[in-house]
Amino acid sequence: MGLFSRVRGVKAPHRKNTADRETVKMSVPETVILSMAQHIGPPCKPTVKVGDTVEVGQVVGDSDAFLSAPVHASVSGEVTAITTIVMPSGQPAEAVVIRSDGEQRVHESVVPPTVESYDDFVKAVRDSGLVGLGGAGFPTHVKLQPKNLEEVDTVIVNAAECEPYITADYRECMENSWNIVSGMQTVMEYLDTQRVIIAIEANKPDAIATLTDIAKTVSKPGREVLVHTLPARYPQGAEKVLIAEVTGRKVPPGKLPADVGCVVMNVTSVSVLAWYLKSGMPLVEKRLTIDGSAVKEPKNVLVPLGTPIKDVMAFCGGYKEEPRKILMGGPMMGIALRDDELPILKQNNAILAFAEEELLPAPSACIRCGRCASVCPMSLTPPVLATAYAKEDAKELEKRGIMVCMECGSCAYVCPANRPIVQTMRLAKDLVRKAQKKS
């Protein structure tokens, strides 16, 4: 770790209030709503019908598309509806609704997979239903099958957790350290890389100590397990930033981590993978950090996938005050929800509810102070992009690198005029995409 970070970013407050709250398992909800679109890529199709009896771990949705991952029942019970829900992004998606019988019977398909080769391994990863649990929801098995597999020399496990409030990955590190390391070793073995590096922000010293100890005992020449301490600076956990910080390599615009010889996996993904290989239980539950000023009992909860947010909130003692804003994810990149009926998704790691909206002043004129540009981890210059967007100049936007914007929000966080920079960047990207389609 250098004194100076290789990439810019902002010193956002940490607010890791729930760091010491050990995970509690939530009671089985009455119903779960399993969205068929819990990953990047074409959505799954339901493989069950209304009236079917399902058991925990049974596949309820799957797709023929390569870029997809199956969805499994998180409770045992009866399929009561196949319906359409509106996802947090605003997109509609099919969903399987299951009424729980409270018995949590486990499906017969839940047996440890036999993994003897690379092909067995990626099939097992797909069967586990794993997607990038850090938030992106990219199907994990696709990530593990890059076109240039032989060029991949480094696996990075992302435990940065740079978003304020969220401590779900931290709890994974503290509670399931051995699963994490065993998962890391498995990935390293099947991808045949020399090293696997787990990267954690410096504000989690206990996790660093625990994992360093384990890493030392399991490392052997040619198969090294390393721990890399990152500066506690937002957004260290962003994939491109992380790779640059850990290896010094920069992923070119429009390219993938594998193009610079890296595969990046979220720490909980790695842990869940290890658990799946041991037990055969696919991804049916997820640890969430529940926090925010409107929550009575902030905590880390292990929640069956598809549980409506309001049930999770009720499990956390309900609302202290009427919530004014509910976020799916952290305050920097999370999505503000319209209601608390939405179900928990695979890639969720936090639900935050705030009583009073964090005071955000009204936007005023851009004074071109350049703070946005100086913190942009992608070296963009938002005022120039905003001007190009105002002129609807898609060509200029593309030339100036709009598509590498990852919407981390560092620019808007520091903007003294509180300009809606991220929103402008999103609209600008959309403009470029539309222009690309036309041509």
Binding site: A244, P252, M333, S364, C366, A373, V404
Partner: protein
């Protein structure tokens, strides 16, 4: 269902808490030493000029926004900064009504007619000063000596005064000039404050002053002459407080260097080759106009993109 009152907006949902007003306030704090020195050196007339210019700028801002039916922005303090900077650029004997006129020009013509804060392409205070110089050449070029009523003294840059002052005199400001430009020490104090508060980066002032120093050394042939040049006239005031104006300077790091070098080179050119004794204001204004071109030429490459490489 508890959703009735939920706020839905684009991320991020956190903010640093910094505001335009706080930045302007920091600039004003950085200008306090210069204002105190101005009053100390030039007496109550200096205080009167500052008050009149600030009042004129604030009134112009308020009325412009009223007339244009735009949201009121007088509270962001940017007009106050313009007023103080304009005042510091005026000689103490200037009639107060002329100073007030300068404020009106700066705010109404240069700033609000182009859309208000952030939209002006040249520094309002500097153009206010230039308009006054053109309109009231005699009054704007009469520089009284500090502490001596009724006696004028040439600025250190006047042809007959070249090299006439001891460097210590220049450092502390006991010579003719506008009320805010003569005392180098207090301007440097303000510079230190701006750096400490991270309001500005040192690039523009250092490159600007450095360029003047090096070019003067080459032209005048000595370290004393070069030092004399950087401590004289409006250079420090301009380099620290005017050339660093966010709105009218480049946002790109390399652009700042080019911009500041241009300011320095033009200053030396005007001081040595032009009919005017002092060229800082004109140098900055000319470079202000070039900012869009400089920014275009110095745009940073996005993360991971190679120079000359195709953008994705």
């Amino acid at each position: 269902m508890v959703e009735k009152n939920l706020t839905v907006r684009s991320s991020p949902h956190l903010h640093s808490g910094e505001s335009t007003k706080m930045i302007m306030l920091d600039v004003l704090i950085a200008l306090i030493p210069a204002c105190i020195a101005a009053v100390w050196l030039f007496g109550w007339r200096a205080a009167a000029l500052i008050v009149v210019c600030v009042a004129s700028c604030m009134a112009s801002e308020y009325l412009s926004r009223r007339v244009l039916r735009r949201p009121q922005t007088v509270g962001d303090l940017s007009a106050v900064v313009t007023g103080v900077l304009l005042a510091l650029n005026l000689p103490s004997t200037l009639p107060l009504w002329q100073a007030a006129l300068g404020g009106v020009v700066a705010i109404v013509v240069v700033k609000q007619m182009f859309g208000g804060l952030g939209c002006n392409f040249v520094n309002p205070a500097l153009v206010g000063r230039i308009v006054l110089m053109m309109s009231f050449a005699t009054e704007m070029n009469t520089f009284p000596s500090p502490w001596v009523d009724g006696v004028t003294s040439p600025t250190p840059l006047a042809p007959d005064a070249a090299g006439a002052y001891d460097l210590r005199v220049l450092l502390f400001g006991f010579h003719g000039g506008t009320i805010g430009e003569t005392c180098a020490v207090v301007l440097l104090l303000g510079f230190a404050y701006l750096l400490w508060r991270r309001i500005i980066t040192p690039t523009i002032p250092l490159v600007f002053v450095g360029t003047v120093f090096v070019l003067s050394w080459i032209v005048d042939g000595g370290v004393y002459e070069a030092t004399y040049q950087i401590l004289s006239g409006g250079l420090l005031l301009g380099a620290i407080f005017m050339a660093t104006d966010y709105v009218t300077s480049p946002v790109t790091p390399l652009g700042k260097v080019i911009f500041a070098f241009g300011c320095g080179a033009l200053t030396v050119l005007i001081r040595h080759g032009g009919a005017l004794n002092e060229g800082v204001s004109f140098a900055i204004v000319v470079m202000n106009i070039l900012v869009p071109l400089i920014e275009k030429a110095t745009y940073r490459l996005p993360f991971g993109q190679k120079r000359g490489g195709k953008h994705a």
